[in-house]
């Protein structure tokens, strides 16, 4: 080598070495300016290109920072962003502290349910409720549906707490026993079964839930059937850290024992780095943490800091490349209590406590392919056995048993102005109900039902310009039931089966007439629903079922229905403090398989299968608005008027049938001409400061049958003018949350008004009135994490020990207390 080259190389080496050695480190801490508490999950960005997020103690570190002057910005939802100029010299360490000032905003809340893609709530022309991690963490709910009990306009029907084998959540004046009119989804895939439209609300461990999005009013223009009354989307957690987990065990009233385990790991590259490439805040990397006392600085009701719900971001979107998984398991058992009325207890010597035992396990796996592109799968396995309070000879007496398996796979990609999303789902439920009782003699039969639902859902969003967002897609679904009532004390086997196939095509345009001020949304969906292979028949009938012989139908006619579901809505935001919206939409729902192809005993008579029942339609007109007062108090008001056409309802046929103990009326679910529903909801939310949140709401609905035509001219009963059953006339709630350095405390008080008990609105012998009485409940939850490792959680449901009853006079569990202790690793 020539000497000149050696000299040049030496110079370059020195220069290069000098450059490398000149890299420094920036460390620091971010706190809340009001109380000095550390803030977790704050994005600290260096020169707008890379950075870090703060950890549990609010600290951060950014290494390999070139010497020189840099801009460092700390930002997180709910606080005003702060920037500092930082001078890094040589290889030294610079320490920077931020004290962020709270910012009371809610316009940045983002949901994905309303438009099948990320939308700011403020831009959605509908009434939306978002329960985020902070709200969920403050609710003492043993089941997912109980979390929704205080949402205005929602009616949660769960008579026996964790001992209920079925529950329903309906909304806005629709009957509390009709889950089929509200679409429920887990991570965007439907879980309403085609058989009865019901949802197994016990399927999901509440600890798996990250947030719940509730969109009220018809959403059939996007989701088709079941969404006639509204949609509820339960978003489950994702793992956030390299390796994290939690093991808990708890004990409660009625000798209730439960244990949970959670284990997650995220190998995503750049998981804790924030740079323009990896800055997508929708990475969901901070959602599994336990909320530390005093650390949960959540100015608004729903999004907690670190929730990563920044405007325009789909919370499901990922950032870097890498694999992640999350395992969850729950076991719960309880000795239970006697639900039956004293009258029933006196009449039946075989009454026992309604006990329960359940397991649920889930595995979520995913792979972040690149920024904005990921694939994810979920598998849930669930098994339960719940006693229904009567034991004659069988080991566990009368029980219900679910074996449920759900699989979901999702692929999502975002490129420039285009977002595409495809989901596959498969839900299988093996349901068994053991019935045994002693009347004249011993009767024992098992209801065995296999219910399968599967489908492919797809959506594409395209933003051709700043003013337009086009969303389109197709949904293909199939559902089936194959069921039998197998008698063990007689020869009968009663079969029913059927399939429902559906295909939906939708298109929606959201047009910003005046950007950020006036948006118009127009959507249209066409659905095709096909009822196939329906059958109802009996093998070797005895006196138990022979009365059904003349209604057998082994080959029901195939039926196809088509329906258009349009929607037009406008959203006007004249100022950041005020928003107004109005919408008109129509929803539809075909009858469920259970009503199309199953006949059988029901309370008050005999239900006849009706394969001729057509779809029902709900047209909804709605207006509402939000106003922010004094920068913190948000008031919301919505009013709606709905008309139900061809409304599916139990109607007396005018005939009767002898089911072995005398004549009983024959009822059939059929279309009645007109139902009118009027209602209003008002909400107040007031974040006193970052630690204290207060909220209140009131809901009112008036549901009446306006047009009724008896099936049989001889039927003297006219339901015209009668109120729909199981609809609370009014609801009200008050919620408070206080997160301080000692404990996180949540309190929810709820009032539920009277509900009409029967179709004829007449006196009910069991209830002792024509209406269920109103009642008030108060729930409370206290939680704390000690030393960052030990969690303690005390929940008290129904503090006042209020007794409320179902249609059979069975009583609720009353006050229910649980204490849960856990170890975080």
């Amino acid at each position: 080598m020539k000497p000149s080259r050696l000299i040049l190389s030496a110079i370059l080496l020195i220069v290069f070495s000098a450059g490398v050695s000149a890299q420094g480190i920036i460390t620091g801490r971010v706190t809340c300016s009001r109380d000095g508490q550390p803030l977790r999950d704050v994005a600290v960005i260096l020169d707008g290109i890379r950075g870090a997020t703060t950890g549990t103690g609010g600290t951060f570190i950014i290494e390999q920072v070139p010497a020189g002057s840099h801009t460092l910005e700390a930002r997180i939802l709910g606080y005003k962003s702060q920037s500092r100029i930082v001078e890094v010299t040589g290889s030294g360490t610079v320490n920077i502290s931020f004290a962020l000032e709270e910012e009371f905003i809610d316009a940045g809340e983002v949901i994905i349910t309303a438009n099948r893609g990320a939308s700011r709530i403020a831009d959605v022309p509908a009434r939306v409720t978002l329960l985020g991690p902070a709200a969920i963490a403050s609710r003492p709910a043993a089941t997912v549906d109980e979390m929704l009990a205080s949402v205005p306009g929602l009616n949660v029907s769960r008579s026996f707490g964790i001992f209920s084998h079925k529950s329903s959540v309906t909304m806005r004046g629709l009957s509390g026993n009709e889950q089929a009119r509200v679409l429920v989804m887990i991570d965007g895939v439907p879980v309403n079964k085609s058989d009865g439209g019901s949802v197994n609300w016990n399927l999901l461990d509440p600890a798996m839930v990250e947030r719940i999005e509730v969109v009220k009013g018809p959403a059939s223009s996007m989701y088709g059937s079941n969404a006639m009354g509204g949609t509820i989307n339960i978003i489950t957690r994702k793992p956030e850290e390299a390796l994290s987990g939690k093991v808990t065990a708890g004990y409660g009233t009625y000798n209730t024992f439960f244990a949970r385990i959670s284990l997650g790991q995220n190998f995503t590259q750049g998981r804790n780095l924030v740079s323009p490439e990896n800055q997508n805040p929708g990475q969901n990397l901070s959602l599994a943490k336990d909320i530390q006392p005093g650390q949960n600085h959540s100015p608004a009701e729903n999004p907690a800091p670190g929730q990563n719900l920044l405007p325009g971001v789909d919370p499901g979107k990922s950032q870097g490349r890498g694999f992640y998984y999350l395992l969850n398991g729950l076991y719960r058992q309880s000795d239970g209590y006697i639900t039956q009325s004293e009258f029933d207890q006196a009449a039946n010597p075989f009454i026992v406590a309604s006990d329960m035992q359940e397991y649920t396990a889930s595995l979520k796996t995913g792979y972040n392919i690149r920024r904005g592109e990921f694939i994810e799968t979920d598998f849930i396995a669930y098994n339960d056995r719940r006693g229904t309070g009567e034991l004659v000879y069988q080991p566990h007496g009368n029980t219900t048993d679910h074996d449920t398996y759900q699989f979901r796979a999702r692929y999502s990609v975002e490129r420039d102005r285009l977002t595409a999303d495809v989901s596959l789902f498969w839900l299988k439920e093996d349901y068994k109900k053991v019935n045994e009782y002693m009347k004249d003699d011993y009767t024992w039969y098992n209801v065995l039902s296999e219910r399968v639902d599967a489908g492919i859902l797809s959506s594409v969003r395209w933003k051709p310009g700043s003013r337009h967002t086009l969303t389109a897609g197709t949904d293909l679904k199939t559902g089936s039931v194959d069921a039998a009532d197998v008698y063990l004390t007689s020869t009968d086997i009663v079969y029913n089966r059927g399939k429902m196939l559906s295909a939906g095509f939708y298109l929606q345009e959201a047009f910003a007439l005046i950007p950020d001020r006036l948006n118009i949304t127009a959507g249209l969906r066409y659905d095709l629903s096909m009822f196939r292979d329906g059958a109802f028949y009996i093998d070797t009938p005895s006196a138990e079922t022979v009365f059904m012989r003349n209604i057998e139908d082994r080959d029901m006619d195939n039926v196809t229905w088509g329906a258009l579901s349009p929607k037009l809505a406008i959203n006007y935001t004249p100022s950041p403090e005020l928003r107004l919206y109005a919408s008109a939409g129509r929803g539809f729902r075909p009858s469920v398989l259970d009503d199309l192809c199953r006949s059988g005993r029901i309370r008050g008579g005999f239900k006849l299968a009706n394969p001729d029942a057509g779809p029902e339609y709900l047209t909804n007109l709605e207006a509402g608005g939000d106003i922010m007062i004094a920068g913190r108090l948000r008031a919301s008001l919505s009013a709606y008027y709905s008309t139900g056409k061809d409304f599916l309802y139990y109607v007396n046929t005018g005939d009767s049938i002898d089911m072995g103990y005398g004549l009983r009326p024959i009822l059939v679910r059929t279309n009645i001409p007109l139902v009118e529903i009027t209602g209003a909801e008002a909400e107040l939310s007031y974040p006193v400061n970052s630690s204290i949140y207060l909220g209140a709401s009131i809901g009112y609905s008036y549901s009446v049958i306006s047009g009724y035509k008896p099936l049989d001219a001889a039927d003297p009963i006219d339901l015209t003018g009668n109120h729909l059953t199981d609809v609370p006339s009014a609801t009200a709630s008050f919620s408070a949350r206080w997160n301080n350095r000692f404990v996180n405390a949540g309190l929810v008080a709820r009032y539920q008004g009277t509900m009409w008990a029967n179709d004829q609105n007449i006196f009910d012998e069991v209830i002792g009135s024509n209406r269920y009485p109103a009642y008030v409940t108060i729930d409370m939850r206290l939680s704390r994490v000690f030393l960052g490792k030990i969690s303690a959680d005390l929940g008290v449901q129904n503090i006042l020990d209020t007794k409320f009853y179902d249609s059979k006079g069975a009583v609720c569990p009353g006050r229910f207390i649980t204490l849960e202790l856990g170890y975080i690793f």
Partner: protein, 299 residues
């Protein structure tokens, strides 16, 4: 190692939730007992004559859950009894008593099922004997009983003797009691109602039944009563047990007979197989009221 513990726990949890077992089924066995006290296969019995069948059943590994008795008379099949039960140990030995009908031949089929739904059957034929063997009946023209809240009249009736006792005096006679009555509102209708000690809902009105070691089951034919198939005049004119036996329709019977209004005639069959008729002479429609009945029953 500490980090593996959760994984191990989870695997154990998944393993524990994945197990299920199912037991194999077996075939039950049913035999007709023989002897002088039982009706023999191929024997001839005159219409109205008593048939006694001795039945021995074993579940074959499963519990005995169902015993069905069918009579095929000149090709017409009638299910005389279809009873659910749960006998898991020791099998079933019972004697069944029926009355010979008018058919030329009667084929009697006895079927049993166990908890695995496995079945077995046995049958015999009874020929028609000469003449008529309709039996004598007892007649109790007036029995007054109190409804559930009546404290002055007795409640518990022996349909064979026409005797009735109140709660204080029934001790020692529990095995004789076949019937009681109460009044309630059902499906919006006022209903004076007949019931028996074995009917579970009767406990609502007579909790005393729960402490009785013998609770007789009387089956009332509600169909004949609801549809007035036997009139008061027919009841009054009955001189033997022919009407009592033939009025009873075994396919529409229950331990509870609603709507036992004044003037109704209710066929019944007692736990020991005696057929009879109850005529409701007067029924109050209030819980403190009373019911006056007339009874005709096989001797």
């Amino acid at each position: 190692m500490a980090k593996r513990i959760p994984v191990i726990l989870l695997l154990l949890f998944l393993a524990a939730t994945g197990c299920d077992t199912e037991e194999p089924g077996t075939t039950p066995l049913i035999l007709l007992r023989t002897g002088n006290e039982f009706t023999a296969d191929g024997s001839a019995v005159a219409p109205g004559g008593t048939l006694r069948f001795g039945i021995s059943v074993s579940g074959g590994g499963g519990a005995i859950t169902n015993l069905v008795v069918r009579r095929i008379s000149d090709g017409v099949s009638v299910t005389e009894s279809d009873r659910g039960m749960y006998i898991s140990y020791g099998g079933l030995d019972t004697t069944l008593t029926y009355t010979r009908g008018y058919g030329q031949t009667e084929r009697w089929i006895f079927s049993v099922m166990n908890s695995y739904r496995d079945t077995a059957s046995v049958s015999m034929t009874v020929l028609k004997g000469a003449g008529s063997a309709w039996g004598e009946i007892n007649y109790h023209p007036s029995v007054r009983i109190g409804l559930q809240d009546n404290s002055s009249l007795p409640h518990f009736v022996d349909l064979h003797s026409g005797s009735a006792w109140n709660a204080a005096g029934v001790s020692g006679h529990e095995a004789d009691v076949d019937m009681a009555a109460f009044w309630y509102i059902t499906s919006g209708n006022s209903s004076p109602t007949l019931t028996c000690p074995a009917y579970s809902s009767a406990l609502t009105y007579y909790p005393l039944f729960s402490s009785w070691s013998v609770r007789n089951q009387t089956m009332f034919d509600y169909y004949t009563s609801d549809n007035d198939l036997v009139t008061e005049a027919m009841f009054d004119e009955a001189v033997n047990d022919s009407l009592l036996v033939n009025a009873y329709r075994p396919g529409s019977v229950s331990g509870l007979s609603k709507y036992a209004y004044t003037g109704k005639v209710v066929p019944f069959r007692t736990a020991n197989g005696k057929y009879g008729l109850i005529k409701v002479i007067r029924a109050d429609e209030v819980a403190t009221g009373e019911m006056e009945i007339a009874i005709r029953i096989q001797k």
